[in-house]
């Protein structure tokens, strides 16, 4: 059942690099990460790659496989023909550190800019009461494993370094949506904040983020569009508008 596949892996650092060809053994049931590990154990001991759980749960082994952003541990070799050339490159949106490892600091910076959960005042620990149907909306977003494939694929920042300061990216806009829909979050005005502070307006709902999400979270439909609707609803509500005119000082 074994065969030799033709792998082409990007090797290099921040300054320079190139695609290197490797013939490498593939066995039944293996995934792309297995093949990368085989290379590491044999002819390329210093091949840099991030990984942890190898079960699609930690979101560490993100890369681009034949140009598609994917988790290497969840990409089965059986999805390719034995004659295919399999090209593995690092995530394009983030600066390369070495080989397949990129500097994903952008995401941690953005995470810090989203105001955290605000506990409801006066509700003691143990006294939180929420209905399952109400928590399910935010629970969908909390399935996120932070693989950053959505951040990587989003065209707002993929080839537009200049948009990075103003745009939180799908993962962190979804975090705002998650908190806006949290039954007990006490912070008002998250949808407006998402527009004004996090760049929600840059998103033109092409759904690329949803398409690459390994957790199958409907980022665009369930998080970003509802967040946009809520923001618009409040911003352009005629009564709110009138109130703001009448009572403006």
């Amino acid at each position: 059942m074994s065969y030799d596949a033709h792998f082409r892996v990007w090797r290099g650092d921040a300054e320079e690099g190139e695609l290197v060809d490797y013939p490498v053994e593939v066995n039944e049931g293996e995934v792309v990460l297995d093949i990368i590990h085989r290379l590491q154990q044999t002819e390329a001991n210093d091949l840099a790659v991030r990984w942890n759980c190898k079960a699609g749960k930690c979101g560490s082994c993100s890369a681009e496989i034949n140009g598609r952003p994917r988790l290497m541990c969840m990409t089965r070799m059986s999805t390719f023909a034995e004659t295919d050339v399999i090209t593995v490159t690092p995530l394009r949106t983030f600066p390369v550190i070495r080989d397949l490892v990129t500097d994903v600091e952008f995401n941690y910076t953005k995470a810090r800019e989203i105001p955290s959960f605000a506990p409801p005042p006066g509700v003691a620990p143990g006294e939180y009461r929420m209905q399952q149907v109400d928590v399910e909306r935010s629970q969908e977003f909390r399935k996120c494993i932070e693989c950053y494939l959505c951040q990587n694929t989003c065209h707002v920042v993929r080839d537009h370094e200049e948009n990075k300061p103003a745009f939180a990216g799908p993962r962190y806009l979804m975090r705002q949506a998650e908190l806006a829909m949290h039954p007990l979050d006490a912070r008002p005005g998250r949808p407006e904040e998402a527009v004004e502070e996090d760049g929600l307006g840059y998103c033109n709902i092409t759904k690329c983020c949803t398409e690459v999400c390994p957790e199958h979270i409907k980022i665009t439909d369930n998080a970003l569009i509802p967040l946009k609707e809520r923001a618009v609803d409040r911003k352009y509500d005629p009564l709110v508008w009138l109130g703001s005119k009448l009572f403006r000082r």
């Binding site: 066995n27 190898k54 749960k57 908190l179």
Partner: protein
């Protein structure tokens, strides 16, 4: 060739960014300590994300009969009464508060109809007790703690203009040495994985929260990080390890395809109705109920099935026995030739629950089997077998403060020993992380306060030595040392085959001999290339730790001549009361050897002892130990 080494000063340094480490750091920061968190992986990727089933806490939301005493009894039973009873007591008492606290950080657990946190059944737990989010509870836990840390950083930013003023995460950083001065912790040393640059932390208190040791085994549910770093760092700093012979082989790991062999299949599959069958289609667990558990488990499939809907009037099915029992049973079935095609047994939920229920309760298991094995678990059974999952053994600590015998060195979570005795119950790990993570942060903070500003100073000679050690694999390159990946495979194979789930004296002796040889090879492994994100180099350094920990497991396993929990001897197949009160304590002897001494377990406090019926205690205790029990005293 001393290079310029970056130096940071902190009050508390936490090594490890899983549940225990993050909870410890939160506590230390809340108590006003400048705190660093050091993590081998990226922030938020720690092994805690792999926990599936839930977090055990006797909140009594589903069955109001639950309380800390019942949880305590279950934990002690699960550990076959070898647990550090004080840790088990603190754990059972404090777990509910730790879970409720997570909701104030923003956690969203699944709910009961009246809006409380829902709780699920699990092996060894008398009542539905595990707070959960589908089968991704670990992810919820790590994300919640991660987000709490961000929230504390936001508070610091509002006050000082610097997010990292009081709490900083150093991710992708590995610690290779601890420093001591005057017998106390003074700091630690390591390297940034991405650049390979060295970094030194000066701090009077270090909390080890590095998790387990599973990477020393061939088939494991653990990730590359689980190389026993904390265990080894503690030993080298002069601390002691206990219970290292007890390793938990989780009964249900994937067995096929080969590349995913060992990956966990959550116990919730059984908690939610899944059953184990052999190749003859027989539900075999009924044949494996041990005497000590006879009264608590159903003897017929009918009774077992009724329990899911009427737990008060029926006994639980034997699929939900503690993990050690189920793992051994599976092992026996496979050995008897009744295994599945790929060397496991069948775990069947498809014929027991509707596809809708399965998708709702076990979404990530559905996903995992669909994508990795091409198996639809709503239609077909899974193939499963034992996988090295958890080490009960770890650093010997004071239960209340979590401090080791080395002043300033603390340990919490999997790296600490004692809490789970000879076998951990599912769900007791996430609660352990929270309870003892918090206690470690508290203990470390109080210790720092107690120093009253007099901090041990790191010795420059120690820093130089640490640096030389870390660079050794590069210098052995010229001497023709071996590929570290090859040595690692050899180590894993040795442990798997010779100190695995079923152990024999001659095999373990052979293992110890092989480990000596592997030690020599480990000292001279060589790596090529550069220091930037070089996995060969990283492994070469981790190997030292894996080796030391494997020696501990091997020596302790050879010494304990009985079978108990996560330690099964083919040559001593029964549990022996004379061994219950004996702890095997390990200490480092030089660079890569250890010595073992026996130590008496402290007797349980009388009011805790009296929580059990005398008849049950008789199964575990020697006659003279039972004198203090209420039933004996009244006679």
């Amino acid at each position: 060739m001393s290079e310029n080494i970056e130096i940071h000063e902190y009050d508390v340094v936490v090594i490890g960014a899983g549940g225990a480490g993050l909870r410890a750091a939160i506590e230390a920061r809340l108590l006003g300590k400048r705190t660093a968190i050091i993590s081998k992986s990226l922030f938020g990727k720690a092994h805690t994300v792999m926990a599936e089933g839930g977090c055990a806490a006797s909140m009594g939301n589903v069955n109001p009969n639950d309380n800390w005493q019942v949880h305590y009894r279950d934990t002690m039973r699960g550990g076959k009464f070898l647990n550090n009873w004080r840790m088990a007591e603190l754990h059972a008492k404090e777990a509910p508060d730790r879970v409720w606290e997570l909701e104030t950080y923003g956690a969203l657990f699944d709910r009961t109809p009246d809006g409380k946190i829902s709780q699920r059944n699990f092996g060894g737990h008398t009542y539905p007790r595990l707070a959960h989010v589908g089968d991704r509870t670990g992810l919820e836990l790590i994300r919640t703690l991660q987000q709490k840390i961000v929230s504390l950083q936001q508070e610091d930013f509002a006050e000082t203009g610097d997010y990292e003023a009081n709490l900083r995460v150093f991710h992708e950083t590995t610690i290779t040495d601890l420093f001591k001065a005057d017998g106390k912790i003074a700091g630690c040393f390591g390297y940034y994985r991405s650049s390979g640059a060295f970094v030194r932390f000066d701090a009077p208190a270090v909390v080890l929260a590095t998790g387990g040791v599973g990477k020393s085994y061939q088939v494991t549910s653990n990730s590359w990080e689980y190389t026993g770093d904390g265990h080894a760092l503690a030993l080298r700093a002069g601390a002691t390890l206990i219970n290292m012979e007890f390793l938990q082989f989780h009964p249900t790991g994937m067995v096929w395809p080969p590349s995913v062999k060992g990956i966990l299949v959550t116990e919730s599959v059984r908690g939610d109705g899944g059953i184990l069958k052999n190749s003859e289609g027989k539900r075999f667990m009924f044949d494996y109920i041990p005497d000590v558990f006879k009264d608590q488990y159903a003897t017929t499939p009918e009774e077992g099935d009724r329990w899911y809907t009427d737990a008060d009037n029926n006994r639980r099915p034997p699929e939900l026995l503690p993990r050690d029992e189920v793992a051994r049973a599976i092992n026996s079935e496979v050995k008897a030739g009744r295994g599945s095609p790929h060397g496991g047994v069948f775990l069947d939920i498809a014929s027991r629950r509707s596809p809708e229920e399965i998708l709702k309760k076990l979404p990530s298991m559905y996903h995992q089997f669909k994508e990795l094995a091409d198996v639809d678990i709503t239609k077909e059974p899974m193939e499963v077998g034992p996988t090295c999952h958890y080490v009960m053994g770890g650093v010997e600590v004071d239960p209340d403060t979590t401090m080791s015998i080395v002043p300033g060195l603390f340990a919490a979570g999997e790296v600490a020993g004692g809490m789970h005795g000879s076998n951990r119950l599912g769900g007791n790990s996430l609660s352990d992380l929270l309870v003892f993570g918090r206690r470690a942060g508290l203990g470390a903070s109080e210790y720092v306060d107690g120093l009253a500003g007099v901090r041990p100073a790191v010795l420059i000679a120690d820093v130089d030595a640490a640096q030389d050690r870390a660079l050794l694999p590069f210098s052995s390159a010229t001497d023709g040392g071996e590929n570290p990946f090859k040595v690692q495979l050899e180590l894993q194979k040795t442990m798997h085959e010779l100190v695995g789930i079923i152990r024999k004296e001659d095999e373990m002796r052979l293992a110890l001999k092989k480990l000596e040889d592997i030690a020599t090879r480990t000292r001279t492994v060589s790596v090529t290339g550069h220091r930037e994100f070089n996995p060969g180099w990283h492994l070469a350094l981790d190997l030292r730790n894996m080796l030391l920990v494997s020696l501990c497991v091997g020596k302790a396993a050879l010494e304990r001549q009985e079978s108990r929990g996560g330690h099964t001897r083919d040559d001593f197949p029964v549990m022996d009361s004379d061994w219950r009160h004996v702890l095997l304590v390990l200490r480092a002897l030089g660079e890569d050897d250890v010595e073992l001494v026996r130590q008496e377990q402290i007797a349980m406090r009388p009011e805790l002892f009296d929580l059990f019926e005398l008849d049950e205690l008789k199964k575990y205790y020697t006659g003279e130990e039972l004198g203090g029990h209420r039933a004996e005293a009244s006679e």
